[in-house]
Amino acid sequence: MLRARVLENKLSSLYKAGKIVGGVYLGRGQEAVSACLGAALIRGKDVFAPLIRDQAGRDAFGESMLDCTRTYLGSSLGPMRGRDGNIHRGRPTEGMPAMISHLGAQVSVVTGMLFAKRQKGELAGVVGATCLGDGATSTGAFHEGLNLAAMEGLPLVLVVANNQFAYSTPTSRQFACRDLVEKARGYGVAGHVVDGTDLLACASVIGTAVKRAREGGGPQLIVAHLLRLSGHGEHDDGSYVPDTLKAGHYGRDCLDVAKEQLVETGAATAEEIQAWQEETAEEVQRAVAQAQQEPTPDPFTEDWRALSTRFA
């Protein structure tokens, strides 16, 4: 999560310097949730479909930092080759589908990947995970996808980061239930709630949910409560978020909490954390510099065909 924060701070600077075309969407405040999910998954075996605030999860799942910088900076050597940008990147054949902007749409895609693994006899011990925000729970795609996964009994882990705002819309204009986890019962899936600002709680709750899905417990819906600590994108200052929320419990920075927890539990010293941060900053600099030096897509040599089929 520290790595994601350092990288995203750099992306934000690049955006503000006009070095990035298109939007920049940060996961600030959601790193603990996302990282714990990515860390609980096994690259090369599981499926992970990140959404827009999952840099930490991508990193923990094993996505290379270059995939990120190349996509944001438009390198033609990145996985999207200038054809799509920012957080829409993925490597579908390596278990990381590339999201589309339409929220909830990845729920059924991950379900389909799990369904295929079952057809092929390769599902044992596998889970598929995807992330959503509170706003995405209002979509038909969320409903259809989760219901389908539940009906099929597939090991889907759905993490909803209730960051209290969908772009600028507060949850009071999004849903009427007391807590989004109440929806789990309606779909017949296991529900979990966690304080998304608490790294150790996230590691425990998300780890447990992933383990249950892996062991045949069916779909798991995890609702993490937190506050988005940035605008929707870096074009947005998030001025509509009331100060009372920022000053409240969920307004605390999960990264600060995590640092305290690591020091308190003896997992790391403050000096070690500082060293990690400096190492990461150097790694980020290298990944940015490399992507900036690489060729950008060329409209004259671009293959302007949307089909893989070559008709005679």
Binding site: R81, P92, A105, V107, S108, M113, Q119, N147, L148, A312
Partner: protein, 322 residues
């Protein structure tokens, strides 16, 4: 023994299930019940674990197919009616259609759309969606008009690595019969001369091919007119070369489609011929489509809503009189 259009669709799916372990079928009421039109009758029993009833979740059905295709499967999704695919529009045009261009990973899935009007079916069980899907880069749109094409184009479509929208016409299901499932064969992307002629070209696809041939027969009876009918077979890719070659012979073009009149396949055909073969035309190119209203329920209204042999013949006479 004769074989119907829907038999051909069933047999193609049976062959695919038999020969390709990557294929599975997913759709509403298609397992034990055999589908609303019986296109999958008996397949669930014959191929256990390969034919699944879906919940009424068109969006998630296509999302599932995209995911399965990423994993190397060849899903065939049955929409109960083409009309209901509008619920899956996002997954079709934004997820499936963009996937190869964006990621370099093709998603070979086939969506069967029971399309077109039948008497009494009304606004929500009669639609022709081929123009909508053909508009989007990344989709292949097939519109078989014959029993043999229904069979071979489904086999060939599933073999393609790209998402395929297979528009099967409900009116042809049981009405259209052939002696054998193995008739003339052409690869996907090639149009067919359904009836040779020299005075005018009528371009049609799906059920309208048969209506165009009837109209051509009438004109032959009443005036020895020889009207050429071109069956597009697939509307995307569009075999404009065969159309232009026909117009070069006849000098006249009428494009007929059952879909709504604003834009669409017939407009594309006319635009392409006007742009690429203007010098071939002896008369302004014409289009004939359904009327610009929802598809009406009552058989009398429905029969006057879609192109018919009578209305096609009227249009051809106008074309010939120019």
């Amino acid at each position: 023994m004769s074989v119907t259009y829907i038999d051909a669709i069933r047999e193609a799916q049976a062959k695919l299930l038999r020969e390709d372990p990557r294929v599975f079928l997913y759709g509403q009421d298609i397992a034990t019940f055999g589908g609303a039109f019986k296109a999958t009758k008996g397949l669930a029993e014959e191929f256990p674990g390969r034919v699944y009833d879906a919940p009424i979740s068109e969006d998630a059905m296509i999302g599932l197919a995209v995911g399965a295709a990423i994993e190397g499967m060849r899903p065939i999704i049955e929409m109960q009616f083409a009309d209901f695919s509008s619920v899956a529009f996002n997954q079709l045009v934004n997820q499936a259609a963009t996937h190869f261009y964006r990621t370099g990973v093709p998603v070979p899935l086939t969506v069967r759309l029971p399309s077109g009007g039948t008497p009494g079916s009304g606004p929500f069980h009669s639609q022709s969606m081929e123009s909508i899907y053909a508009h989007y880069p990344g989709l292949i749109v097939l519109t078989p008009a014959t029993v043999s094409d229904a069979y071979h184009m489904l086999l060939d479509g599933v073999a393609l690595d790209d998402p395929v929208i297979y528009c099967e016409h409900k009116f042809l299901y049981r009405w259209l019969k052939a002696k054998s499932i193995n008739g003339d064969y052409l690869p996907i992307g090639q149009a067919r001369i359904a009836r040779p002629g020299k005075h005018a070209t009528v371009v049609a696809y799906s059920a309208m091919v048969h209506e165009a041939i009837r109209a051509a027969e009438r004109l032959h009876e009443e005036g020895s007119w020889e009207i050429e009918v071109v069956d597009l077979r697939s509307v995307k890719p569009l075999d404009i070369d065969t159309v232009l070659a026909s117009v070069a012979r006849t000098g006249r073009l009428l494009a007929v489609g059952e879909a709504f009149p604003w834009g669409g396949v017939t407009a594309e055909v006319v635009a392409r011929v006007a742009a690429e073969g203007f010098h071939l035309l002896d008369a302004p190119p014409m289009r004939l489509n359904a009327r610009d209203t929802p598809v009406p329920y009552h058989p009398k209204l429905w029969a006057a809503h879609r192109p018919t042999p009578e209305s096609i013949a009227v249009a051809i006479r106008q074309l010939l009189s120019f």
